[in-house]
Amino acid sequence: MRRARKSPVVVRQPAPTPDFREGGYSDQRSLPLDASSTPAQSVQAAISRRLWFCVYLPELPLEACGPANGARVVVEEQQGMHRVLLADRKARAAGIMPGQTANAALALLASLDIAERSRLAEQQTLEQVAAWLESFSSMVSIAGSDVLLLEVAGSLRLFGGLKALRRQIATELGEQGFAASLAIAPTPLAATWLARGKRRACVRAAANLNSALRTLPLYCLGWPDATVESLGSMGVENVGDCLRLPREGFARRVGPERLIELDRALGRLPDPRSSWRAPETFCADFEMTEEQSERELLLKICRELLLELEQFLLARQLGTQHICFSFFHLRDPATQLTLGCARAERRAAHWFELLEIRFERLSLPEGVIAVRLYGGHMQAMDVVSGYLGFHQESRTRRVGYSMLQLAERLTARIGRQSVQGVTTVAEHRPQYAWRTEDILGDDVTNGQVQVPNALRRPLWMLPEPMALAAEQGYPLHHGPLTLVEGPERLETGWWDAGGIARDYYLAVNPQGVQLWVFRDRKRDAGWHLHGIFG
């Protein structure tokens, strides 16, 4: 045992797979295993802490086509012929088998629903399942066109153990209409192979891998047909047979990559997997079979999409401030409906409430054939602590939040520009001494400036000073004005284009209206009305 001398750890541990090792394992210096700097035993130790949950979807081509009314088959073109790739239960009951031509299948069942295989739809469906599986584990990996892998060792405690987790995933997959084969093993490849073999296996310890894989037929390994056939002609039918072969000869006959796969499956080589992340933007479509213009139905569809969005955001602990609905029409361009929210939000009920306000006033030019919900920019949720009942602070915050809700409701209906807050600015020029504030924005500053109390300012301000006619040097506004107070001279702003030189007066007209008028000293000495003392 030369390796034992190199690595003392090995001596203390029993060799897990002596039969494979006898096949010349330690002498194959040319094989990648020996070239690897990681000692096999420590790889195994790391692997034993992992648990891979494999979800294999053998009927994905069928399931990706959506719900069927009757019997359905998926066909694929092979050498110019459309052949049945998969048949659902009803079709199989009618005697339709994979490999038949489409015509033969139609002869068996005239009402057959024939769908062309769509790799794109399969990929999208697989990604949807992967996104959903992200709620069970932070490490989800897409392995091939119909296999998903989850690393669940870290999730067991949360979901109440492996059995409960497996039951939950199996049940929910079934509810979503997927026929899945599940398997659990310490290495990703072993889990995949066991799932493909439909073994319903659950191997927790790496030491049991060998016996679990031994009887697995070679077609479960996903190796090229030619390799499986040539091995079959040698009498090698299952994984156990492969493991009994001398390593060197095996690598020469079928290629070293197959040997690496076997090593990885048994946990002798590390098998790093890249973690799949669902895209951070949400975009979901709902397509209708025919044009719809019934508002109740459209709202219901929107609610479905919002629930989907909520699930999506929940899995990522994110919220969004804006969402956008697109209603597609047959001829007219799509109608857009954007909803905004004061702070990042993910609750479907909240969005639905805002949607209802806007939707009742939305005019759709014609029937809708599809609805799309786009999730906007995602951001981390502002988590607000709950109200315990005896803490004053949390209570005031609760009230403040409902102010935001009011602002949201108002902006949802009448537009963001129409709902404002105000603040003062340190500036002598009256028209610049204040500005509006976005009540929903994050940039709400408390930079109010206190105006000296001695200065009288009108409660109403005109958007622009209004020129007044004058009579014998005195201004007129619904009659001659009497100047009561003043002048207050404002001469400032020479550094920019908006410089002023004005004498402001408090004036009263015959109706008793108190006005704030000024005489422009700069231009024409004309009188202007600038404000009204309300």
């Binding site: 409902s402 009011l406 301000m461 009263v508 008793g512």
Partner: protein, 216 residues
Amino acid sequence: MRPDAPSLDELLENPRLWRGHDQTRATAGLASGYAALDRHLPGGGWPQHALTEILTEHYGIGELRLLMPALARLCNDEGHAGGDDRREPGWIAWVAPPLQPYPPALQHWGIDLSRVLIVRPRETSEVLWSAEQALVSGTCAAVLLWPRTLGDQASRRLQLAAEKGGSWAIAFRPPAARSESSAAALRIELRSDTNGTRLCILKSRGGHPAVLRNLF
């Protein structure tokens, strides 16, 4: 007069006798900041959780000055709901103001600008909707609105919304509206000429009509 007939004082002592203006004494009004006005308002101030209508011919004859002390108290006081409920200071919503409320002047009157919400709906129908939303939300201590028209039914809705949200609705209307019926708890008309401003209490729930001169 018969000698055994009870005196007026005795009659008033009789618990079976119901007198209209006793009814609202229980609910304290919101002090207006003008002692002369408070004396004429039932409860000694503006009616709370109700609709007040102010009828004016022109803007700028004191219709805002009349409200400012009370509004300043509302947005600075802890508990606009009569002190029984410790809520945070309420917001003051301005729905469809005809001109721009000038923040430095509001501040001068003691209004907390961080609690001012200005809503400018583009359509007339949205004025009432926005005001109603603000009233029922329970976060606005006062809602000032300038509706183009305010029918009997709309005023009833506003009155109900004010009661529901514990808020004070103030609607500004032209003097022509005095002939229209309204559900408002208080209707005031302001008239002004060179001699000063005259305030007429047209309708006051639990109070009496009155005319006040030279309030400011």
